[in-house]
């Protein structure tokens, strides 16, 4: 989930923070930079796969750093911020929307971290003004929220709650959050405006959005500690029936294995890297200094590299065998683990999550009904792996898989009638097809209450009878007049002849019994 840091560089950010006498003078901007520095440092060590970009805004906006994993660049840009004029949030949010869509499209969930002092401008271009003029806007000048992509909005206020409540800033920010579908949070500083409280505020943001998701991947008794990146987000299924969000559990249990061809490019709601991690249980007891910890970490990692890890084994075998592992991530919630190679021949263990529910993939059936091969009376894959129990066949065939009759267009009806006539001319060779097509037409005509058609086709068949050449097989005439008569009977609606499930059968003649009449 990429992050956009939207930094307020308006003049109001340069307001000094009143501190105790004698201490160094701070601007709000300095505090904001300190907070972001802390966030970037955290990400660089614990969340380094996150793409982050930095956008600065005042009345205009500027993309300072495009999406990157290079936190030094971000840090550098942060220290070179300049001060500009007034705050105009609407334009900046448009900017964010553009930046994200250009890079990631419209489906990628994004986190927007807005850092501001909470004075959101005055007059035209101010947030208050934007929110007041939400409704009567033409299509092309709409307010940028909600974003066209799923987004979480975190507002980091370099101000206290009290300060914001004096003006209507808090109300406006809350309304902003609401516009975003309520996804996000507003953080304010607690107590005095100082380095410590800004750090505690960004600490709360880190806890809320940037703590790595650690889990244990189990396959029976084999297990591995893993980090799942990006963090799996809670999912809402049907907000009316089941309004509680579903969370991915920290125990990911493999249920079994399925071949890639069988699972067949299933739809997934999200994709995650599954990275094996070494859990160093003694790290809490040892090491107080940062450098020491770092060193310890590297040695721990080196050791971990040499210790066999289940993820690596699993990844290797999934890759070689062309299979996926079906993994249970929560109650009635499944995903799949597979090997994913990028263009640079680097390969990784990935987890894709299916839609929560009992039956996310129709062709696999209910997930809970997937059992071991040994449950089946004989190996469903065949002794030589030539068969597969998948895909599951649905109980009813879809319209395109059965020979349905649709006469909405005249051509549909014409084709069906011509088909009968074509076969009628080739009697008795085509007796079976002739009656098959005839019965199909008869069924549809009866269902649609289209008795006129039955009479019409009966007449056509009678005419064909008179047009038969002298060389025609005698059986042909018998079958045609028999069929015509049956259609006429059906067209009366007489229940004896017009039953839907009744079929017109070929007339049994002396000729049809193997050329007796020749």
């Amino acid at each position: 989930m990429p992050t956009v840091v939207l930094m307020d560089v308006s003049l109001s950010m340069t307001r000094p923070v009143s501190l105790d006498q004698g201490s160094e003078e701070f601007q709000r901007k300095n505090l904001a930079v300190a907070g972001l520095t802390m966030l970037f440092e955290h990400m660089a060590t614990n969340y380094r796969l996150e793409f982050t970009s930095l956008v600065a805004f005042s009345s205009l906006w500027e993309l300072l750093v495009p999406f990157t994993r290079d936190y030094n660049t971000l840090q550098e840009a942060l220290s070179n911020l300049e001060d500009y004029d007034k705050t105009c949030l609407e334009a900046a949010l448009h900017g964010v929307s553009n930046v994200v869509q250009q890079e990631w499209g419209h489906a990628c969930p994004t986190q927007v971290v807005l850092v501001t002092d909470g004075s959101l401008g005055i007059g035209a271009g101010s947030l208050r003004h934007s929110l007041q003029t939400l409704k009567p806007r033409p299509e092309d000048k709409k307010f940028p929220l909600p974003f066209p992509f799923p987004a979480k909005l975190f507002v980091m206020c370099i101000a206290t709650m009290e300060e914001l409540q004096v003006t209507d800033s808090m109300d406006n920010l809350e309304k902003l959050l609401q516009l975003n579908g309520g996804d996000g949070q507003i953080f304010t500083m607690e107590g005095q405006l100082c380095l410590k409280s800004v750090q505690s505020m960004f600490g709360r943001l880190i806890d809320a959005a940037y703590t790595p998701f650690h889990a244990v991947l189990h396959c029976g008794n084999l297990a591995s500690d893993v980090q799942v990146f990006p963090r799996p987000e809670p999912v809402f299924l049907d907000e009316e029936v089941d309004p509680l969000p579903r969370h991915v559990l920290t125990d990911l249990e493999i249920v079994g294995f399925i071949e890639i061809g069988d699972i067949s490019s299933p739809p997934v709601t999200s994709r995650h890297l599954v990275l094996p991690i070494a859990v160093n249980k003694e790290v809490d007891d040892v090491g107080t200094g940062t450098t020491e910890e770092m060193e310890e970490e590297t040695t721990a990692n080196q050791q971990a590299g040499k210790a066999p890890n289940f993820c690596v084994l699993l990844h290797g075998s999934l890759k070689v065998e062309g299979m996926v592992a079906l993994v249970m991530v929560g109650p009635e919630w499944y995903g799949m683990l597979y090997s994913q190679a990028d263009s640079k021949k680097k390969s990784n263990l990935m987890m894709s999550l299916f839609e929560p529910g009992a039956e996310p993939l129709p062709w696999l059936g209910k997930m809970s009904q997937l059992g071991p091969i040994s449950d089946a009376p004989e190996n469903p894959y065949g002794e030589d792996d030539s068969r597969s129990p998948f895909p599951l066949q649905p109980q009813a065939k879809r319209s395109y898989a059965q020979n349905v009759t649709v006469w909405i267009k005249a051509s549909g009806l014409q084709t069906d009638v011509q088909k009968i006539l074509r076969n009628a001319r080739k009697l008795p060779e085509k007796t079976q097809t002739f009656y098959k097509e005839l019965n199909r037409l008869r069924k549809a005509a009866l269902a649609f209450g289209f008795w006129e058609l039955l009479k019409g086709v009966a007449e056509l068949l009678e005419r064909e009878c008179t047009l038969l050449p002298d060389t025609a097989h005698p059986d042909a005439a018998f079958q045609l007049s028999h069929a015509a008569q049956q259609l006429k009977l059906a067209s009366t609606g007489d229940s004896q002849y017009a039953a839907f499930d009744h079929n017109i059968n070929p007339m049994h003649t002396d000729f049809s019994g193997g050329g007796a009449g020749m």
Binding site: C108, V255, F257, Q369, A401, V406, I408, V417
Partner: protein, 701 residues
Amino acid sequence: MKLFSVSHKTAFVVDHCPYMAESSRQQVECDVLTKSRGQGVIPLAPVSKSLWTCAVECSMEYCRILYDVYPTKKLVNYIVSDSEFHILNSWRQEDQSTHELMSALAAVGPPNPREDPECCSVLHGLVAAVESLCKITEYQHEARTTLMDTADRVANRGRIICLTNAKSDTHVRMLEDCVQETILEQNKMAASSDRLMLIQQCELVLVHIFPQGEDTLVSDRPKKEVSSLLTSEVHSVRAGRHLATKLNILVQQHFDLASTTITNIPMKEEQHANTSANYDVELLHHRDAHLEFFKSGDLHMAGSTSRDSGLKETVTLKWCTPRTNSVELHYCTGAYRISPTDVNSRPSSCLTNFLLNGRSVLLEQPRKSGSKVISHMLSSHGGEIFLHVLSSTRSTLEDPPSISEGCGGRVTDYRITDFGEFMRENRLTPVPEAPDESDKTPSERAKAQLERHTRYWPMIISQTTIFNMQAVVPLANLIVKESLSEEDVLTCHKTVYNLVDMERKNDPLPISTVGSRGKGPKRDEQYRIMWNELETLVKTHVGSSDRHQRVLDCVTACRSKPPEEEERKKRGRKREEKEDKTEKNGSRDTEDKSWQESDRLKGALDREKEEQAESEVIKDSPDSPEPLNKKPRLEEMQLPEKAKGPVSLLTMWTNRITVANSRKHPEFAGRISSVNNKADLYQHLKDENGMDLHENGKAAR
């Protein structure tokens, strides 16, 4: 879409009154005469459909599309109304098919034009429809039962689609009022019933059908609220293809469908088999398949309007070659069932048959810039065709650290092939639902099987001996089973005996030397490791059944000796050897001997190609005469050497130390009781009675 939205229940009310028997006056020429047969034949007069036929076939088309896209959970109740109402099916899932409805419609037949028009009304059907909406569906019932105390979250909403021929706008208002009143009445009744549900929202869609060439007496009206419970809209349409188009639009609106036209489908012509023309096929599916277009505003650019109507939009996607293969795992963000708009046309059936035969087609999005973007894929799964949405934007997961750089990434001897085999054994299969057969679901049993199979599963080759041995395979495969048959136990026993036999013959073991320096442990040490490992494996399954226990009993009984005993035995033998040598070679220094041994081995290397290398080495030895019981020891030293090249200095040193140490241990009990310095080994094998071993063991102690 919420499960219990208005679209959960659709009641079709089709007017079956005498006036519906009227002709739609749209004529169909079904006698198309070919030129060659045209002469002298009077063509059949064109047939025309009645209003009833038009209504029925269009409603069936509505249902066909609905059932194709939503095979479950979107239900139709079909009601026909004349002098009374006829309910043709129920809300039950098994009643939901066009075949079922067509059969019931055939039984109803067309309206009887001679019936008294005064007694007939569509009202009977509308009342029945409201009553029917109060009836609980199996899905509502199931949801209510599972939610228990929050059962009120299960909503009851529905839609009534009424196909009729109304007299006037006043008539329409009368129908609306009637529905409104009936809802209120029925809700009162439902309030006091467990089997009925209150209607919370009802959408009435009145479709007024009138013959071609006539002016309509009823005006179109967009959706309006009649009350908080009821909304109503009126569509006034000519019978025939206008009606078909209208219902096609309605089914799209009602079920959030969108249209995609696949263009440039190459199809072989019947007449000209070697040429192929390009065709278009229009498909309907859930509109989320176009989500990306909606959001980006590309919809208008990418799409063109459908040929059939100016009202609905379709997105055009281009057939794309080369096709994809099934073993590729695409990143797919959605898969939606499709239904062709024109199911019987030749292009449609060609496309659907192509897909049903198991082939997939990638679809390309036409873009302004001309760059090729593959955005969708058509693929069938078990006779159902799905439109897959493929992700075509940049991934946030690009350039991740390779797995070889992370934990366990440096290890190179993972048992990849073995784990592949393990995965094949633990593949899943759908198990038919069998109520109250066992309390565990199949997926729980699958997990239980994984648990059993992994009780002892070393991840790397150098951690295991038994899994590198073909001889252990039968036992290893069987022991993980939940229950063993007598035959299985026998097979396990045979495996153990076979191992015993191998040990007796002193066959080499595939002990890995990775990690350990030199050529690794000695042969009897190897066997000890192997037996220990086997015992560990079997022990983890002992709790499963008595038969598993019997396998363990067999292993413990047959394994050479309990470990300490074994140790002693080995050392004893070595010391004996040593003693033999010292007797025969006087006070020759052990070190000297080792050097000579190494010379000898170099000689062996020189003559590597000779078949009898080993025995010749022995015969050529200056240390002759060779004691008989020394032979195995030499073999043991030379075999690993064959594989690993010349013996290392360390190995020689280790050997020397081992030999020296062996002297410090008590004499092997067997030798004490031996005759002429010869003791019979493996007496129990001759006796074929494992108990003997135990007794011997005890006696020895």
